[in-house]
Symmetry: C3
Subunit: 300 residues, 3 copies
Amino acid sequence: MNNWESNLFITDGTIATYQQRENLRQFKLIAEPIAHNILPEITLDALGYNGSTPGPMIVVKQGEWVELEVENRTQEPTSLHVHGLAKPNTQDGRPPIEPTPKINPGESYTYKFQAWQAGTFFYHSTQNFQENLGLVGAFIVLPNNLYTHPVLLPDRDYTMIVQQWEIEQPELGKVFPGTYKPIKYGTKPNYFTINGKCFPETSPLHTAFGERLRLRFINKSSSSHSMHTHGHDFNVVEVDGFTRTGMMDDTISLASGKRIDVEVIANNPGKWPINGTKTFHESNNGHTPGGMITQLIYQE
Amino acid sequence: MNNWESNLFITDGTIATYQQRENLRQFKLIAEPIAHNILPEITLDALGYNGSTPGPMIVVKQGEWVELEVENRTQEPTSLHVHGLAKPNTQDGRPPIEPTPKINPGESYTYKFQAWQAGTFFYHSTQNFQENLGLVGAFIVLPNNLYTHPVLLPDRDYTMIVQQWEIEQPELGKVFPGTYKPIKYGTKPNYFTINGKCFPETSPLHTAFGERLRLRFINKSSSSHSMHTHGHDFNVVEVDGFTRTGMMDDTISLASGKRIDVEVIANNPGKWPINGTKTFHESNNGHTPGGMITQLIYQE
Amino acid sequence: MNNWESNLFITDGTIATYQQRENLRQFKLIAEPIAHNILPEITLDALGYNGSTPGPMIVVKQGEWVELEVENRTQEPTSLHVHGLAKPNTQDGRPPIEPTPKINPGESYTYKFQAWQAGTFFYHSTQNFQENLGLVGAFIVLPNNLYTHPVLLPDRDYTMIVQQWEIEQPELGKVFPGTYKPIKYGTKPNYFTINGKCFPETSPLHTAFGERLRLRFINKSSSSHSMHTHGHDFNVVEVDGFTRTGMMDDTISLASGKRIDVEVIANNPGKWPINGTKTFHESNNGHTPGGMITQLIYQE
């Protein structure tokens, strides 16, 4: 039996709790207004699942069934879609096009489907820009033990969800403290987060010399982000849950809706940035350094 | 002999008529001002070919010669470039750099070249932002029968051209009816179309259980669009007219100038969105749902 | 012995001079304010290395050691990072995260590392948007002779760095002459350059029938650019210094931080645009033609 599940991490986030019933995992997500700090001095009047944005990371094993109960404590109808991972039409969560309900305020709905495909996915609201206000989270399907060779097992497996936020600020170049409701359209983003935090508030990833790391990058934002690991090349091993080969690289273009898994061999000790390369995305409203930067730190 | 040509569709569009003269197809495109509805309440004072934007879909067979007569009924000089599909310098349509004429108002010019490469291409004006006002259309070269194995033939082959438009609207969040001249620079687009229509005006794609579909996505807009099929993974089979292998996916980043052909096996009955994943692009000026969404509907 | 190094070109740019000491090349870069013309009538109050933006193209051979002395003659601290090409933590140039110094005004610092990987890289400042003001340049590592087969040698090898600039202009649609300090945040770029020049000031690339060309596209800007060669398909041979196979194409999406090397066979004589396909990027503040266009011209 492998220990992949115990090697999963999401910095600044949590892994969703669940009830296991034979070959079924039951999760509960509460969509609700939250006060969320992307920086100590910037509080977002946002939406979250179970009190946070991104919501808790859901983890299941390939072949298991999943029950996702979504309770709506927001002011508007919501619905939940797991992006990728084909499901029956009634369980896909995109009304009014699909025959799947809108969940009204105060109501709950339970989605049920099988996690037939291993890979990196994400869940999000499909209603009225609620994704831009925070209703998004990681959804990881680990490969069935039968198909998992020991050489595939990462020593540590980190998930990073990138998000961007547009909030009112009088001008560019500094951070104006306060509590803000994000502008839902998000066409002029000025704050950029990894797992809900702006640098320098992003918690670092840790490793030790010789480890193999898997980094799962997830983007539901409306921009592409070029994610770069300093000091390390990597092997792109999966794109959107499907295997890729022959794709060594040092920078990936992570477009909206995409998930890219890379493997890094920890062979270069130090303290290294992992960051988006678009310069404005490495700032907090134009104040540098900030934004979409985290760190990979080797244990001494 | 295969029937690929009869399996081609372009929702909300037309296929160009032509004269066949032995191994030559002759087409005529009239560039002209048009009134075009992207929604019932939004009329664009746009430019089109033969009365529509995108213009009619041109279809030829690999190895055939093509004559494209372009008549200019607009107020400005124009010129036409088929993007991709290498041609002699005089037939490429990019003056003043190339030795190919600008076509003045009231004049016509005929381009002639051989369609040596099968694949998905597009034609567009290369003058003064006329592409942003509507002068674009699909150009499909079907493989020569000699090279077409029955297993390659799709049951239905749908082309989708994505476009974006910037029009004056007093604020975001709703649709302000009227007739508008698009702002040609297009740096702040607020309406997003598939084959010239915003959701919910986009006509659906149809399929039946067990069919193999080819979807050809074409982007001449100035943004990337992440195109996603709900309920179905797909195989990326061609990029810009060149074969790709080993690229299963569920979301593609369709950058400016790119054409991506995917194959979908219709194995999951229902009514499914096919959409761009950037949230603002799924709205009409910020009103949801809208924009770059269409549907894949299974026959009962 | 191959002559690859003598086949390297950078239009409108220079190749950095150096001191060779056995297996070491020593370069000196002076970061300083410069007056730089992207058009005859538009002067940027920019930053450059050794008097230009992009800075001089650094060329080394795989396996050589590199010493890069950076002298700071600007008003602010700076630091220099060679993007890609993994290096020891102290030589990577990303303070305050890494243990590598900020270089204060009037001071110098020398980075030293081995060019173990052949490929296309770039160097840039990592401080306070200085990249957006001009502090960027190409860094090319040619393959070790031992690994270079004659069939790999291009007849000409051209590097193109794309940049974008945001400057104050009263309105879109024409070029307002003057001297401008670029807005460092660069969120609304209106001028687009290849090797520091806007079309029609971009100097053309030259070729002769039958040659094999390598084109190295480098993007440190904060947008993706879709680079397209008229009249010629190409083979994508390297992405970010790593080999790719089976990737014929005619248009590449060059995201922020990416370097894409393509090979073109010069088989179609004439005068051809090489350009970004986003329409606004082919203009100078909305005046067409302009921006990110250069030409490939065959010798008569």
